[in-house]
Point group: C2
Chain length 120, copies 2
Amino acid sequence: MVHECKSKRTVETALEILVGKWKPVILFHLIDQGTLRFSELQRLIPDVTKKMLTTQLRELEYHDIINRKVYAQIPPKVEYSITEYGEGLKPVLLSMHEWGLTHLDHLDDLYGESQETIEK
Amino acid sequence: MVHECKSKRTVETALEILVGKWKPVILFHLIDQGTLRFSELQRLIPDVTKKMLTTQLRELEYHDIINRKVYAQIPPKVEYSITEYGEGLKPVLLSMHEWGLTHLDHLDDLYGESQETIEK
DNA sequence: CCGGATCCATTAGGATACTG
DNA sequence: CAGTATCCTAATGGATCCGG
């Protein structure tokens, strides 16, 4: 029985943090690598534009999920890492990952192997 | 180390299922109550319009997360329930809920008690 | 009672060019 | 290197009215 009071809000807030086209990938890389520079993230996520990468990073930073460390030097150097608080998201990401694994198989059952992904 | 191959996709697919303004609430009610009629869901979620409720239910149904059972009678009666497959989402929702609980507290620490929610 | 159809507002996402 | 600024498109959410 996980209901009533403010309970429903909780899932929404978690979603609010995670939702964003590039946020899960960013988090995975940061969790995996610990600390990464902006350019490294860009290299690891080839399809993201600088603007979008910046936007998503700023949103994660705003929610205190990642740290942004700026080195005052030329050329600039900015490093991103998961905050201690952000570490708390690991179980969430992990359970989503676990579910996603079986879901991809389930998709094959439902629609056959023909399609590449789920989107449209 | 949960990286490489198709792994990142898994989190995205999980998100894809859950994302939608009313989906978490719908799922919570269905998990909590078992089976609910359209009108009951509407009553439980006062702010949702019929169109939006329909849309979100259809998307969940499309992904095989909920069942839609139509009784051929006048007046119509339609019941929704979680599919067996959809049950697999429970751990995900639960971990998001757990995280959300501490997150709401963390929000108070960050910005004070002044604000009502996180949105905007 | 449970929708569908239409139209409109808001938001998320992106291409491109420029900058300290 | 790590971003902004501008402009644009696509997707999402919603108000309202119609229908079996």
